[in-house]
């Protein structure tokens, strides 16, 4: 699926019509109408399908658990499975991911355990998982700041001659942040092996895209920095995978950064504490529900005989098992040791923190008596 990268690529404006490889009915689109990108191999698409189904079941389960009070909050990725999983599936195991708070299902698909993914949303103070073991930066709340971390890590790997790519997710709102600009510019100037995947789900909490930018597409922003930008149908996982894979290979081969915009829609609220009926029309939500990314791929796989009832049933079982496992884990109260608060602030503990730790320990001892 490698493309001839022409030197003029970075100066070409992205297409206004989002790039697609499968139409909404699941029919393959000819390569010449799809920017020269080819449909991924069937095995890749079957694997991605399985991951998307499992991820959606997880997302629905966590939303339900949040409504039951088991989590403090949860930002759902319902409807964004193609962006999340298409992009992450394009990475090699040695590559790094720099997620935002909405990317729980991307972490899931990279093998992080549910309890570790949800650590902060449950109300704990730490990220749960080991970033180096999973090659995933810790989830954090500030917007666009992680894009610079991705550029730095990618550049460090390049200085070390390690063939590692750093992929970072950004939301449409985050592209307005200064750090997004600085990350695009640093990556382009340094030719850092970075892939920026903008999940344009069209709302930053309640603020719609037209109040976020005057650019024709968010992918247009790439051109000014001197890197290629692709405007992709974010509900077409085949296109998301193919374009991101191209960007990843390009970065790995020294071609520098790429910006991939996936045009999608957030079906659920911003988080479980938000009321989306105040800022958007239900007919829009219904319109986007009819463009469901999982159904689209399923139609294609079924009509091409790549997915049978038996496999669908086994995938459904896997999804149910994960949901049950997530329920079980979340229904057990996590064990918090308040004295651990003092353990990980500095590499070597300070005298003052030792004093404060002793104070808290003493206070608890007296309360227990």
């Amino acid at each position: 699926m490698s493309l001839n990268v022409e030197s003029s690529e970075s100066r070409t404006l992205p297409t206004l019509t989002p790039l697609r490889l499968l139409d909404n009915a699941g029919h393959a689109i000819r390569s010449e109408d799809a920017g020269g990108f080819a449909l991924p191999e069937p095995e890749i698409l079957r694997d991605i399908y399985r991951r998307m189904v499992v991820a959606r079941r997880f997302d629905v389960q966590v939303t339900a658990l949040t409504r039951q009070g088991r989590l403090a909050t949860y930002p759902s990725a319902f409807g964004q499975e193609a962006c999340e999983i298409g992009a992450v599936a394009a990475l090699d195991a040695t590559d790094w991911l720099f997620p935002t708070y909405r990317d729980s299902i991307a972490l899931l698909t990279r093998g992080v355990a549910p309890a570790e993914i949800l650590s902060q949303f449950r109300g704990d103070w730490h990220s749960g998982y080991d970033p180096r073991a999973h090659r995933i930066a810790p989830l954090a709340t500030p917007l666009a700041t992680q894009a610079l971390h991705a550029v730095g890590l990618g550049h460090a790997a390049r200085l070390r001659r390690d063939p590692i790519v750093a992929l970072t997710f950004l939301g449409d709102g985050a592209t307005s942040e200064g750090d997004a600009h600085e990350a695009f510019n640093f990556a382009a100037v340094w030719q850092a092996p970075t892939v920026f995947v903008v999940q344009n789900n069209q709302f930053a909490i309640s603020v719609p895209l037209e109040r976020q930018t005057r650019a024709a597409t968010l992918a247009d922003k790439a051109v000014g920095y001197g890197m290629p930008g692709y405007h992709v149908d974010g509900n077409d996982v085949a296109a998301m995978y193919a374009v991101t894979r191209h960007a990843v290979e390009r970065a790995r081969n020294g071609g520098g950064p790429t910006l991939v915009e996936g045009l999608t829609y957030r079906i659920e609220a911003h988080t479980t504490t938000d009321d989306p009926t105040r800022y958007r029309e239900s007919r829009d939500v219904e319109h986007w529900k009819r463009r469901d990314p999982i159904e689209r791929l399923e139609k294609y796989l079924v009509s091409d005989g790549l997915l049978g009832d038996e496999e669908r049933s086994s995938i459904a079982d896997e999804a149910e098992a994960l949901a049950a496992d997530t329920r079980r884990t979340m229904n057990v109260e996590a064990d918090h040791d308040p004295l651990e608060l003092f353990e990980h602030v500095y590499a070597t503990r300070r005298v003052a923190l030792g004093e404060q730790r002793a104070f808290l320990a003493d206070e608890r001892d007296r309360a227990a008596r």
């Binding site: 810790p138 610079l148 991705a150 890590l153 600085e182 990350a183 590499a347």
Partner: protein, 326 residues
């Protein structure tokens, strides 16, 4: 023994650290061929190549944010913020990520990076070139904030900062860059969590750091002529704070004053005064004083002489204790 400026001592520290550990990389604005606007990185790119030390685009959040990623990968970046107030665009990266990464990852990922910030005034700089930003950094758990006042400490503390597994805000008092002294390289002083008593005395403890250590020493010289014995403590590290060395001095002299260039209200001196008082109240015979800049934005070069704490102001301030006891 070599006679060196403080800037030269910092250059030697960077050179020695880069030679000792290939994970150390240096970048920021103008640090390459120019050698930094204060020449602290002079000659290093020629020596180590542009994979180890390079000019970055002009964007402070970008400099610190990319350093977070590099540290995550296992490098030990030393980045430069070109002048104090230009560090403010990097505030979010420093406070939300550099300071928190170890905590957020339950100790799995540290941030062994050094953020060098040429700080404070007295060089006739224009707006944005003379701020003292220490209170912002010392109020942030997870950061270590240090500032040398002389060439030997500059070398020793920068080496220690680069060796540290924690992120260090390294404040370089630019009015002292050209201060010269004899230094035996590689000079390694006591670790920077210890303050230094740089002049012994019996009647008053002056607590100073960075640029105001020289001010405190000048005040002590003048006071000695009047028969007043002043002890000067160079804090060296602002966070952590060496309660032990400071407490011992204050209990000996029973009077303490803290001197800094930054504005007074909510400034670092407030923390010092509170700590010293809480821990030594019954040994104090007078309130802890603060001799600081005014609560105004750092003034223009034409007016900074009215703003900066001077030896005379220090002596006038301690005169308000009136010395009935003597």
């Amino acid at each position: 023994m070599t006679t060196t400026s403080m800037a030269g001592a910092l250059t030697t520290a960077l050179r020695d650290a880069m030679a000792a550990d290939e994970r150390v990389v240096v970048y920021g604005e103008d640090v390459g061929p120019l050698g930094g606007v204060f020449r602290v990185t002079d000659g290093l790119q020629a020596e180590f190549g542009s994979d180890r030390i390079w000019d970055s685009p002009l964007a402070e959040s970008g400099i610190v944010g990319t350093a977070v990623g590099m540290a995550l990968y296992g490098l030990r970046p030393v980045v430069e913020m070109q002048f104090d107030a230009f560090s403010y665009p990097a505030f979010e990266q420093i406070v939300s990520h550099v300071a928190k990464m170890r905590n957020r990852t339950r100790g799995r990922v540290g941030m062994p990076l050094v953020i060098r910030i040429p700080c404070s005034g007295d060089i006739g700089g224009v707006e944005h070139h003379s701020d003292s930003s220490e209170a912002y950094w010392t109020a942030t758990p997870g950061l270590t904030v240090v500032t040398p006042s002389n060439p030997a400490d500059a070398y020793s503390m920068l080496r220690e900062a680069i060796d540290s597994d924690d992120p260090i805000i390294f404040l370089e008092p630019k009015s002292r860059y050209w201060m010269r002294a004899d230094v035996e390289f590689p000079a390694r002083q006591t670790s920077f969590d210890r303050a230094h008593v740089v002049r012994e005395g019996d009647d008053v403890t002056l607590l100073a750091y960075g640029p105001t250590v020289a001010t405190a020493l000048a005040a002590a010289d003048q006071a000695a002529a009047d028969g007043l014995s002043i002890e000067v403590v160079d804090l060296r590290s602002l966070s952590p704070f060496d309660d032990e060395t400071v407490g011992a001095s204050v209990r000996k002299t029973s009077r303490a004053a803290v001197i800094h260039e930054a504005a007074q209200f909510g400034g670092y001196g407030a923390e010092v005064a509170a700590r010293v008082t809480e821990r030594n109240f019954f040994h104090l015979s007078a309130p802890v004083l603060r001799i600081t800049g005014f609560d105004v934005p750092y003034p223009s070069p034409k007016l900074e002489e009215y703003f900066l704490p001077t030896a005379e102001r220090v002596l006038d301030a301690i005169e308000t204790w009136q010395w009935e006891a003597r």
